[in-house]
């Protein structure tokens, strides 16, 4: 069972590695969106410091969502997905592995690059680890919830827009907790509470989302 999971993760990572531009595009999107905000709202350092956690988190949300529509599309097109449905490995495990690969490609780089963005927003250095940690805990939840939406909208016309409509309302708690942890830390109250709640969300999503993804895949493929 774990072999199947590792196999799927390795395969998806290999595919991503062969088409590096896809990964780079999502990351570039994140950087560009966050760079646009100071141009829009003005470069007042106090203002930037105040909006930094929210802006970075919203940009991470959108960037992670943009690559979701590709999550199952290629496998669906070439028939691999059907084989995964028929295969001996439980579909939930395969689904969890796909979400994990998506996170490594689309979520992890955001967490790593976020401190650089925080630098642009003049966020104190003490807040960088909190920001990175909140993204590390939060982006897997985005990948897991997003995969449900990606599986439901598989092969539909206008799938990308529809996917955002389905998934973004469900992202609300992650956004609130993620941006909130940095806000609390910057207010000197420590963001541990929010980070723990984010970790709880991650555990819950990790336990239940694979089922929902698998069910959604079966519905879309029948």
């Amino acid at each position: 069972m774990l072999d199947a999971a590792f196999c799927v993760v390795r395969r998806d990572l290999l595919l991503a590695w062969r088409r590096k531009s896809d990964v780079a595009t999502a990351l570039l999107f994140f950087v560009i969106v966050t760079s646009l905000f100071p141009l829009g709202v003005g470069a007042e350092p106090t203002l930037l410091r105040a909006i930094a956690p929210g802006v970075i988190w919203v940009a991470a949300l959108l960037s992670s969502m943009l690559s979701l529509s590709r999550l199952f599309a290629a496998d669906h097109a070439d028939g691999t997905l059907e084989q995964m449905l028929l295969g001996a490995a439980p579909l939930g495990v395969v689904a969890a592995a796909k979400a994990a690969a998506h996170w490594i490609v689309a979520g992890l780089p955001l967490a790593l690059i976020a401190p650089c963005i925080a630098l642009q927003y003049d966020l104190q250095a003490a807040l960088w680890p909190v920001l990175a940690l909140s993204l590390l805990l939060g982006t897997p939840v985005l990948s897991l919830i997003g995969a449900i939406g990606a599986a439901l909208t598989l092969g539909l016309r206008g799938g990308g827009i529809l996917l955002s409509l389905l998934v973004l309302p469900l992202y609300v708690p992650v956004l609130i907790l993620g941006a909130g942890s940095v806000d609390m830390a910057s207010a000197g109250m420590g963001g541990e509470g929010q980070l723990l709640l984010l970790a709880a969300l991650l555990v819950a999503a990790g336990a239940f989302a694979p089922w929902a993804i698998a069910a959604a895949l079966r519905i879309s493929m029948e």
Partner: protein, 232 residues
């Protein structure tokens, strides 16, 4: 009596047709009674004056907006578990009414907020949750509309409704928590623990009227859905 007899669209279609007028009639009677008590019998509020009377529309709409989502998720779960066709159609028929009530609750809320709070919109926890609920309804409707095959539409919608239903408490509490962090005590709507009995009865009558209206409208809509799919 065998209740499952009516689980088939074919047998439910005439039953729904017979029941809908009764619920519609009950809705009309209750609404007339509720509005009469609300506008002519119930006394003027000591603090808010006449403006408070919007409560007779606002609160029942807000109740139903949340309750209909639960009912919708229930039918959706039933449909997924027992593979019944009618359940998906019921969820399909309930969604527009739920979205409508969510919108009415938001709309009347902002109209009420302007004279009492001095603003059409605040990022209050309840308002924000209601807004997210509207987005969830619209997502459900959009997903069903985007899928051509009715069976897949029903099942995909059902899964989304269940995922949304599980998430609603999480969203609500995260919003409440976010609100207490950001908002401070700018707006606090503390209702008196005891409401004047005429106000309460008007509000309950209106809530019942909205219930009856929802049932009548969803029965009519489910008939349309059955017809559209050529099952009756």
């Amino acid at each position: 009596m065998n209740w499952f007899w009516y689980a088939s669209p074919q047998t439910f279609y005439p039953l729904a047709g017979r029941m809908a007028p009764w619920f519609a009639g009950a809705a009309a009677l209750l609404a007339v009674a509720g509005l009469y008590i609300g506008f002519f019998v119930a006394p003027t509020d000591a603090q808010q004056g006449e403006v408070y009377r919007i409560i007779f529309i606002h609160v029942p709409a807000a109740w139903l907006s949340m309750f209909i989502y639960v009912v919708m998720a229930f039918w959706a779960a039933l449909g997924l578990a027992f593979n019944t066709r009618l359940s998906g159609m019921m969820a399909n028929a309930l969604a527009p009414t739920g979205a409508l009530f969510t919108f009415i609750a938001l709309w009347t809320g902002s109209l009420w907020g302007r004279p009492t709070w001095g603003t059409y919109w605040v990022w209050d926890a309840r308002l924000t949750s209601e807004l997210v609920l509207l987005f969830l309804y619209l997502g459900f409707i959009a997903l069903q509309a985007a899928i051509d095959d009715p069976r897949r539409a029903d099942r995909a919608g059902a899964l989304l409704a269940i995922v949304g239903g599980v998430n609603i408490p999480i969203i609500h509490y995260s919003v409440v928590w976010w609100n207490t962090l950001h908002q401070g005590a700018s707006v606090s709507v503390t209702k008196g623990a005891s409401m004047q009995s005429q106000m309460l009865s008007a509000m309950l009558l209106m809530a019942l009227a909205f219930w009856m209206y929802s049932i009548a409208v969803s029965l009519v809509r489910v008939r349309c859905v059955i017809r559209e799919r050529g099952e009756a």
